[in-house]
């Protein structure tokens, strides 16, 4: 019997793609070139979670297209937040690949986001549907959670400083390679622990 599409899952996945790529692009400069890819993979894995492979791929693909359009439109209408540019990683991702492309082209950015979402969303959807790869889902989720938590924690510490203002471009120093390294290692340890404890 054919498995139907879960539209609620597709909408949530599209939102995950959109919100995660914006969060990573805004807070984590070191990951900016990979933000759209990471976000699309994460969204795809959720979209394919506990589904059959073909349904997972379809979910991921549709979510990637919708999420790409949402992110593209957001980047057109919301240029910056509190004075800090909302790069959403597209510019960083495209410049090294095609140096002749104008990074300011909004239409091009939206198309690139849709294509990235479509491709990596489908791969994530396939990964999510494979039961044995659920450890990857946990690892990626934990890594993203730790790194975003690190950024929020650093922001909270910065806000406590007496000379704090939103005008300083602090957001791009909220995380650095040390945070990334610790987040990767800690996510790896927790995934191994969860596996040993048979939690997934």
């Amino acid at each position: 019997m054919e498995e139907g599409l879960d539209y609620l899952k597709i909408i949530y996945s599209a939102l995950i793609y959109s919100i995660c790529s914006i969060l990573i692009g805004y807070f984590i400069l070191d990951l900016a070139p990979y933000a759209a890819i990471l976000a699309a993979l994460g969204a795809g894995i959720y979209a394919g979670h506990k589904s059959k492979a073909i349904t997972g791929i379809t979910h991921g693909l549709i979510a990637g297209i919708i999420g790409g359009i949402i992110t593209g439109i957001t980047s057109i209408y919301v240029k910056n937040i509190a004075g800090i540019p909302l790069s959403i990683s597209v510019t960083n991702l495209i410049i090294p690949i095609i140096s002749s492309v104008s990074p300011t082209s909004s239409l091009f950015s939206t198309t690139a986001l849709v294509l990235i979402g479509l491709f990596f969303g489908a791969i994530g959807g396939l990964m999510g549907s494979i039961k044995k790869l659920r450890g990857v889902f946990l690892f990626l989720t934990l890594f993203l959670l730790f790194i975003i938590f690190g950024a929020v924690d650093n922001a909270a510490w910065n806000i406590m400083e007496p000379d704090w203002t939103w005008n300083i471009s602090f957001s791009h120093v909220l995380t650095n390679p040390i945070d990334l390294f610790v987040a990767i290692m800690f996510a790896f340890i927790v995934t191994i622990l969860a596996y040993v404890m048979s939690l997934f």
Partner: protein
């Protein structure tokens, strides 16, 4: 009939041991609560996805064994890199006016505290509707440990670094952010129906 899961008990005892040592070593603001938090987490794990009667037995065994190991560790490893490994015992006992010198007397106290709170945790863990509590508590401690590790990594390269900084590794800012973020993730997991 005793129907205990030995693997779960061993891992539960290790959780109680390692969690309380980590919290006692890194998170001075939670030192009085480290034993309780560690025993609750260990208990919730041992009671996870099993019947309440079995969960209580698992929790009791894990807390009791974990407490004995913890007591022995505290006797033979008084400090790490010159920093006292108080293992929250002192912090926990002070409000009750119990002598805080670490000795053999501490072992039964640790075992009894572990067994009591692990049994409570195991009951919570066995109740399906309360499983989000397990996720919340786990995420909270994970975020806190990540913050502590991250702070260590940041301080490591500095010229002024000494190990004595470890007791300011986490601050109430980290604890507040960890609590808030763990709560936020729980809500998200509920909406996304992941858990």
């Amino acid at each position: 009939m005793m129907n205990m899961n030995l693997r779960k008990i061993v891992i539960g005892a290790l959780i109680y041991l390692i969690w309380s040592v980590l919290i006692g070593y890194f998170v001075i603001y939670l030192i009085s609560w480290a034993l309780v938090i560690a025993a609750l987490v260990a208990g919730i794990y041992t009671g996870f996805r099993i019947k309440t009667s079995e969960a209580l037995q698992n929790g009791f065994a894990a807390g009791f064994i974990g407490g004995i190991i913890l007591g022995v560790v505290s006797l033979f490893v008084p400090s790490i890199y010159g920093i006292p490994l108080s293992i929250p015992i002192i912090g926990f006992l002070i409000p009750f006016n119990i002598p805080t010198t670490i000795s053999w007397v501490v072992i039964p106290i640790l075992s009894l505290v572990g067994a009591a709170f692990a049994m409570l945790g195991a009951t919570l863990g066995s109740i399906t509707k309360l499983r989000k509590l397990f996720l919340f508590l786990t995420l909270f401690t994970l975020f806190l440990f990540y913050a502590a590790l991250d702070n260590v990594a940041w301080w490591w390269g500095r010229a002024s670094w000494t190990w004595s900084i470890s007791h300011v590794l986490t601050h109430w800012v980290d604890i507040t952010v960890s609590l808030g973020f763990a709560f936020f993730v729980i809500i998200l997991a509920h909406i996304l129906k992941i858990y």
